[in-house]
């Protein structure tokens, strides 16, 4: 398989996405206060924190689902105060969701195929006819999707409606759909939530493989501290919407503020 985007030759280093002084509130509730963080090309970046720390809000800001009241987002050198989800997707940001969000009645194959929607060039009528150039295009997309199916080792469930699959497999299909977009930045919202140990180990392997094989930059939110420390290159810790630490897993693990936040010191 060919690395679809930033090849492995791109050294982890230059900043792919930067969030500067972002604040987000819902009415009177402050979800994020004045947080800055950056995601470098080729790295696995984790965002952790206790419940209600603002992790998912941060992910939603990054992919444009929420618009922050203050602050700037720079993605691939382009700065904007507002990013719409559609722009984010076209710009190369893909994501998975905390609660699997697939089309349950459709097969695993079709679900992953939907990840190619943005890459389809022929119009609706062409697609409807499935003829000539549209067919050729579909074959090309199918090839890409099959590569992903092979990569994630889900050949045996290709034709099974995802609603009938075990939870761990659904998560894998969802990852497949995100990969089908050939993203520059992959956002994973609690990829291991609700999984058993074996499924967690499998998923960790796939996350590392995606990063290694496709060179995809990954930002993930995760509850399981063990997983985060093993997987990520750098970790940012949020608590009550404030950034309290940022660094390598080893640095973060020994940070006083982080320990307090996790063990629950009175504020």
């Amino acid at each position: 398989m060919r690395a679809p985007t930033s090849g492995p030759e791109v050294a982890a280093g230059d900043v792919l996405l930067a969030v500067e002084n972002v604040s987000l509130s819902f009415g009177g509730v402050k979800a994020i206060s004045d947080v800055s963080l950056d995601i470098r090309r080729g790295e696995i970046r984790a965002i952790i924190g206790p419940n209600g720390a603002g992790k998912t809000s941060m992910l939603n800001v990054i992919n444009g689902f929420y618009t922050p009241q203050r602050g700037r987002i720079t993605f691939k050198g382009q700065t904007r105060s507002k990013m719409r989800p559609h722009d984010a997707a076209e710009g190369g940001i893909a994501r998975t969701f905390q609660n699997v969000a697939l089309f349950r009645g459709m097969t695993a194959l079709d679900n992953i195929m939907t990840g190619r929607t943005l890459k389809m060039h022929r119009g609706f009528v062409w697609q409807l006819l499935r003829y000539g150039p549209a067919m050729a295009e579909e074959v090309e997309h199918r090839q890409k999707v099959e590569e992903i199916i092979d990569f994630l080792k889900i050949q045996d469930i290709r034709r099974i409606p995802v609603g009938r699959l075990a939870y761990g497999l659904q998560k894998r299909v969802e990852l497949g759909r995100a990969l089908a977009m050939e993203p520059d930045l992959l956002l994973l919202d609690e990829p291991m939530a609700g999984m058993n140990l074996e499924e967690k180990e499998d998923m960790s392997r796939y996350i590392l493989d995606v990063n290694d094989h496709f060179g995809t930059t990954i930002a993930l939110i995760e509850h399981d501290m063990g997983v985060v420390m093993d997987l990520s290159d750098r970790v940012v810790v949020l608590d009550h919407g404030i950034k309290i630490a940022d660094g390598t897993p080893a640095e973060v693990k020994n940070d006083r503020a982080v320990i307090d936040a996790y063990l629950g010191v009175a504020h």
């Binding site: 199918r142 099959e146 199916i149 092979d150 050949q155 045996d156 094989h213």
Partner: protein, 662 residues
């Protein structure tokens, strides 16, 4: 026949590479190999495959593989792994396939023992295993791999992607006209008597032994198998069993090269059934448990089906049970029954076979261990020509097989073409054939133990020739066979298997060696017996209570009596009927050491652990108290006490039956 082995072969094609060249000429564009990848079947004709193998062979010779070198092949069923077998043989090197699931330690032993110079590992998983034992491998010079994923960052000093090796060969052949002649010259040097492959047998005791087979061994055995079942270039198989196992080497390699039929490699281990369905294979091979799984899946699905479907399924399966085998065996069947069977074929049997992917299977084999007669008959009643076979690595597979139309659930068939079988005075099965191995690699002692100077091989299995059918019956491993005090042969596994074929019986442990008579301990199958209990208004509160219920004893006594009747019909076994039995109050469990991890009963351990029970079986008491330690799933231990009843069973009068038989 055996003496003149080489003369048996085609004059020109007496090695596999020569056969490949012959096939490329004779069958040309007929498919030789298929592989499903990225959801699509890729096909190589015999002509294509010759090019692939030739490129690979030339590439390997550039990298330094020479005549007499060993190349280990580790991985699942993939085209390039099969090609590497032939490519190595073309250079006069010896392929040594290794089980893909062997742990690093076993792998290290085999690689060192075989002195493997090259290793072809399928993927990162296998390469990682090799890395972990690298310091113990003194002969390995080069590691090749088939699946590059994850291996990009590995040190490529002594590693190469097999596709690059093929490219190396292709470039050489394109640039240098002499390379083709050189390849041909290397192939021509091969002879029928050359070592063709070393297959390591996974010994249950001690270290694995390397069985050396020559080209003549493998080719004649494969050819005889083809003749026996009339296999030709229009047949088709799917390769899904371990390539290190002799069965796969014969079915997916040797017989294909000899007959010219196509071998298909599945996309993944989990997709075999689906892939088989797409290909429509005509020749199939599977151990009993695979057939068992298919039936279980069907029954589970049917339990969820609507009432009409269920009724239809039950009616036609019952009809098939009655008439299906007779129709398959081409016996006389009334027209009415035949017509209903046709309707059943359309409504039930056809769709079912299609689901299993075996609609087109002409010949299906089961081997490896005893298959339940019910399971065997189920498939036969659907019109699938499922047969039994008895073979060994040391025989290049074929010892006996069931000829079409002579099928019995409890025999393994008649000696195959060119094979002689005899029973030694102490009851061990021995054979002699052109497929007999030349010896164990670097182990003349073991070779001498197994093979007599005049070419007879000890199988280690106890068996006898059934007088009614002339077929061989295998009763047990010879070392497990004991004797009752009156001298009657006692084969525990044979008796246990007969009992275990009843769905209500989950496990059975038979005792009788150096005793006056045979007794068994039984484990009920909770699923089967509890559903029986529900249907028959038997009330119980726990496993223990159910196991000890008088009506369960009645039920099982009926099964034991039936087993006795069936034992009484066999002259050798008739004296070893079951006199007394008991039902254990707990399930035998690997966590308690009562079963091995592969779920075989540990007879000796159980006898020690339940010594009071064994004593009671033989001292005539009708009840006994027992308490034993149990290990719960979370690792905690507890004591389980119970009062276990012992039941007597009526035995069939031996003398009467024997007289009747004579």
């Amino acid at each position: 026949m055996a003496q003149n082995a080489a003369g048996h072969l085609h004059d020109l094609a007496d090695t596999f590479p020569k056969l490949l060249i012959r096939n490329a000429d004779q069958f040309r564009s007929k498919p030789a190999m298929r592989h499903k990848d990225l959801g699509i079947w890729f096909t190589w004709s015999w002509a294509d495959m010759l090019v692939e193998v030739r490129n690979l062979a030339v590439g390997l010779s550039i990298l330094g593989l020479q005549r007499g070198d060993k190349i280990a092949i580790i991985g699942k069923n993939k085209p390039r792994l099969y090609w590497s077998i032939c490519a190595a043989q073309a250079l006069g090197a010896v392929p040594v396939p290794i089980y893909a699931d062997s742990v690093a330690d076993e792998m290290a032993y085999v690689l060192e023992h075989a002195e493997a110079k090259f290793v072809l590992a399928e993927d990162q998983e296998q390469v990682d295993k090799l890395m972990s034992i690298a310091d113990r491998l003194s002969h390995v010079q080069m590691v090749l791999y088939d699946e590059p994923r994850g291996l990009r960052d590995y040190d490529h000093g002594r590693m190469k992607w097999i596709t690059e090796v093929q490219k190396l060969g292709a470039d050489k052949l394109a640039a240098d006209p002499g390379a083709l002649a050189l390849w041909q010259a290397e192939v021509d040097k091969g002879a029928a008597s050359d070592l063709s492959i070393i297959l390591y047998t996974s010994g249950t005791t001690g270290r694995p032994k390397g069985v050396m087979l020559t080209n003549a061994n493998v080719m004649i055995s494969a050819d005889n198998g083809n003749k026996f079942d009339k296999l030709d270039e229009n047949d088709s198989v799917i390769a899904y069993l371990p390539i290190a196992w002799v069965g796969d080497h014969i079915f997916s390699y040797a017989q294909s090269y000899m007959a010219g039929y196509c071998v298909s490699c599945p996309e993944a281990a989990e997709t075999v059934t689906e892939d088989r369905r797409e290909i429509g294979t005509t020749y199939a091979f599977a151990p009993p448990r695979i057939y068992e799984n298919l039936i279980t899946l069907t029954m589970v699905r049917m339990a969820d089906a609507g009432p009409i479907k269920k009724k239809m399924f039950e009616y036609f399966i019952e009809h098939a049970r009655k008439w299906g085998e007779k129709i398959l065996n081409k016996q006389k069947v009334p027209l009415g029954a035949r017509l209903i069977y046709w309707v059943g074929e359309f409504l039930v049997y056809g769709p079912l076979k299609n689901r299993y992917g075996i609609s087109k299977v002409r010949i299906g084999y089961t081997a490896g261990e005893a298959i339940g007669p019910e399971i065997f008959r189920f498939f036969r009643s659907l019109g699938i020509n499922l047969k039994q076979l008895y073979g060994q690595t040391e025989a290049s597979v074929y010892i006996t097989a069931q000829p079409d139309g002579e099928i019995y659930a409890d025999t393994v068939g008649k000696p195959n073409i060119d094979v002689e079988v005899k029973i030694s005075p102490d009851g061990e099965v021995m054979f002699k054939s052109p497929g007999v191995f030349t010896g164990y690699y670097k182990d003349p002692e073991k070779t001498a133990e197994t093979k007599t100077p005049d070419g007879w091989v000890h199988t280690g299995d106890a068996g006898f020739i059934d007088e009614k059918t002339g077929h061989l019956k295998i009763i047990d491993r010879a070392k497990d066979v004991g004797k009752l005090n009156d001298g009657t042969i006692f084969a525990p596994k044979y008796i246990e298997n007969k009992l275990k074929f009843y769905p209500n019986i989950r496990e059975a442990v038979a005792y009788g060696d150096k005793r006056d008579f045979v007794c068994v301990m039984l484990n009920i199958d909770l699923t089967a017996v509890s559903s029986w209990a529900e249907r028959n208004d038997v009330v119980y509160g726990s496993y223990q209570e159910l196991a000890n219920h008088p009506r369960v004893y009645e039920l099982l006594a009926g099964h034991v009596a039936e087993v006795n009747r069936s034992l009484a019909e066999e002259k050798i076994m008739a004296g070893a009927q079951i006199r007394r039995f008991l039902v254990l109050h707990k399930e035998l469990d690997a966590d308690d050491g009562e079963l091995t991890r592969t779920l075989k009963v540990r007879r000796g351990f159980i006898a020690d652990r339940y010594a009071p029970l064994v004593k009671a079986l033989y001292d005539g008491s009708s009840e006994v108290d027992i308490s034993a330690e149990v290990t719960f799933e979370d690792g905690r231990k507890g004591m389980l006490s119970a009062r276990v009843k012992i039941a007597d069973v009526q035995t069939e009068p031996v003398s009467r039956v024997l007289e009747a038989a004579e």
